[in-house]
Symmetry: C2
């Protein structure tokens, strides 16, 4: 099944609402914005990610004949409505923060301007795509901040939530500054460097650990990273020292070893000593197993001699904050601003812009949330990216997005860069926007 | 991209190991088992799920010519190895616990018996598929237990981790006993009942709430669930009462209303009273917004008049336990049992079976983890499901798996059925299995 691109990948209510819009000819221009209501306590900032996949989705949005036939067979929809869906395409405009932009609560990172049914039907998948990569990029960048200069590899595919999660997590991690991924398909699709070592099964399938190391090294001469912990980590490190001259005589250099269990810091110190004493100062130590940014920070601060980390479950599921309180909400219809006033979930109405101001030190000063057409100092973060259903520029290479993240993060105040919860940083709301919201609160509903 | 079925959806090390197996002609029969090492503190039991997708993956496993061409272009692999991959198919056997079986730590729920390279290359995707649906089914069943008889609808697609996560979460929730999903594609693919209401945007796009209710009702006569909280929940409920006679005169019955913000219990009581006083005793109250099993239990015990719930983010990300400490490990190769001895991650070697024993009250008594060929009382939970790469039976309809879950869960001791952490229930390990493990511990490595 090619599930990722199906127009049926949506909530039922989008279709029932569209049937209502169709019946009532409600096709005027609507403006929807995607934003995060509140940051999780575990995040000092978020990184916008997933726009590329959203634009791809919008450009190709359509129902196939088979999907329409099935929709009609459910007897939920009128034939003339199903016929109308046949020609439905996304022909609207999109404004967005570029991927890799740092953002905060209530700041829209994407705005869709399109005839109401078009802007509505794409809601579910837009949230699904923007939410997930933003979750992962915002988690991954914390590891990058916690262990500067270390090799960080995404190992999470197996425990990511399905195939697409594994792929998009690899992308979001690389965007956030990771070095590589183990996910081969992500390497192919997104041009991300690949990295991998060996598994315990290889060692166990051989009659001895030495045999396994030699066999693996000979078969993968350019990528020799040997796994030490199948039986006894330090004993395995000693075997690596013993084998190194023999392999060197065959022209094979051992590049690294991997630790995957026990007290990683203690094993790393022991193994480093064994390798160094054996003349293998250049062999890197790589570690994996229940790693997250807090452990990275601890290792980094303690000077633990680990050169690189494979990070999986906690990263690809963003286990400490696996979802964001985000929404895609209508802010204007038929030229009139709209405001949802639900308790604790009220929205800022109208088409908005986020203006970012920097301090004299070049670091982030504050953001201002204002109406789009307000004259306000600062850099506007939301830019046009799609007009009439067509992208305004080809996709930005991931390597450039990565560069932007590095720059953005370097300009954050020190407390926001830290892993510890910082004082919440929220955009100032412009007086004009407040006034509009209050005016709408007093309108009849 | 049809990412979900690509053979490249794997970790790089599977391919580098395969290159080693290929070079050394290591193609004898290997036995791998999938199991969960430890249950999360928040789970008293797990539900096996995802087998159907694993079998589908194994039956169709192959590399396409384009994938092979790309692999060769990476210059990581020898041409003869890439040629060997061209004909690689899965021709092995699979034994497994049927989906919906209750299981505990260290109990294998799937066993693969196949030539080593075949059993190895499928590891990543097998874990990816079994892990996720097991995570979600094991989370969802807690809601079913917390609110017996209530309508429970999966609303999670938008905050699930990608497309496949949304689809498979819908499946896992239905398997666990949910009533329906909002995910249209999941409805089509898995034949799950669909459910949906309306969004705030529909109300906001209309000039008044009354107008929105009438328009929606007329366009979806058989599925009229009106959203009350866009502006003021109780005021909207009063409008529903006012509109009901008019709609009734058009032959339209309002089936329900939805609350989505504020104090749901308090709003539900108020709205119930307003509806009842207005003669709308049959109109159901449906609630959504940050719901999980703990809230469900609270509402249920307090007799809050909510008939159904839409559950999203916390369910589809299993936010309190978003991943399991699971593994797919080699237990035998070339006829010899193998044991990984890593600290805290040692495995039980050999081909194993889980025997389940029930007490006189018909409830689960204890499980015994034993070698496959041991004579042990109890029901063996692991059964053959695939031989020589072909399924032994067509897929079990989801509706039957659902029935099995209901039966399985009904036979659990009361403490395991509760949401509060119960005393850990772990299988007894047979003396023969312990003996084998000890013997292997003293073998040279």
């Amino acid at each position: 099944m090619n599930a990722c691109s199906s127009a049926l990948l949506t909530d039922l209510y989008q279709l029932t609402m569209l049937q209502g819009y169709f019946a009532e000819r409600m096709e005027e221009t609507a403006v929807f914005e995607f934003f995060v209501r509140r940051l999780p306590a575990e995040r000092n900032f978020l990184l916008a990610a997933g726009l590329e996949q959203v634009l791809d989705f919008l450009e190709h949005f359509h129902f196939t004949p088979a999907e329409l036939e099935w929709l009609e067979s459910t007897e939920r929809f009128r034939r003339d409505f199903v016929e109308y869906l046949r020609d439905l395409r996304f022909t609207g405009d999109v404004h967005a923060m570029p991927e890799g932009t740092v953002f905060f609560d209530n700041e829209p990172i994407l705005r869709v301007t399109a005839p109401l049914p078009q802007a509505q039907i794409v809601e579910t998948r837009i949230i699904n795509l923007l939410h997930f990569q933003t979750v992962i990029a915002s988690k991954a960048v914390r590891s990058v901040l916690a262990a500067p200069g270390k090799t960080l590899v995404d190992f999470g595919l197996r425990r990511a939530h399905g195939a697409e999660a594994g792929l998009l997590a690899a992308r979001a991690c690389y965007l956030a500054g990771f070095t590589a991924t183990s996910d081969v398909l992500a390497g192919q699709l997104f041009d991300i460097p690949l990295s991998g070592t060996m598994a315990h099964s290889f060692v166990q399938a051989c009659d001895s650990e030495e045999e396994a190391f030699v066999r693996f090294a000979r078969a993968n001469r350019d990528n020799v990273v040997l796994l030490l912990d199948t039986y006894n980590t330090e004993a395995a490190a000693a075997k690596v020292v013993q084998l190194a001259p023999k392999l060197r005589s065959e022209g094979i250099l051992i590049q690294g070893v991997r630790l995957d269990s026990g007290d990683l810091a203690e094993h790393a110190r022991q193994v480093r000593r064994i390798l160094d004493d054996g003349g293998l100062q250049k062999v890197h130590i790589f570690a994996s197993g229940s790693i997250d940014e807090l452990k990275l920070q601890k290792f980094f601060r303690a000077g633990v001699p680990i050169d690189g980390f494979g990070i999986g479950s906690r990263l690809d599921t963003s286990s400490d904050a696996p979802y964001l309180d985000c929404a895609y909400k209508i802010q204007e219809y038929a030229g009139r601003p709209r405001r949802k006033r639900s308790e604790g979930k009220a929205t800022w109405p109208g088409r908005k812009q986020v203006f970012r101001l920097y301090g004299d030190d070049g670091r982030l000063g504050f953001d201002k949330l204002a109406l789009e057409d307000e004259k306000t100092p600062g850099t506007p973060l939301i830019v046009p990216v799609m007009r009439n259903g067509k992208r305004l520029a080809p996709p930005t290479p991931l390597i450039e997005l990565r560069r932007r993240v590095a720059e953005e993060v370097a300009r954050l105040p020190a407390d926001l860069q830290g892993l510890e919860p910082a004082k919440a940083y929220s955009a100032h709301v412009s007086p004009a926007l407040r006034e509009l919201a209050e005016k709408l609160d007093h309108a009849p509903s």
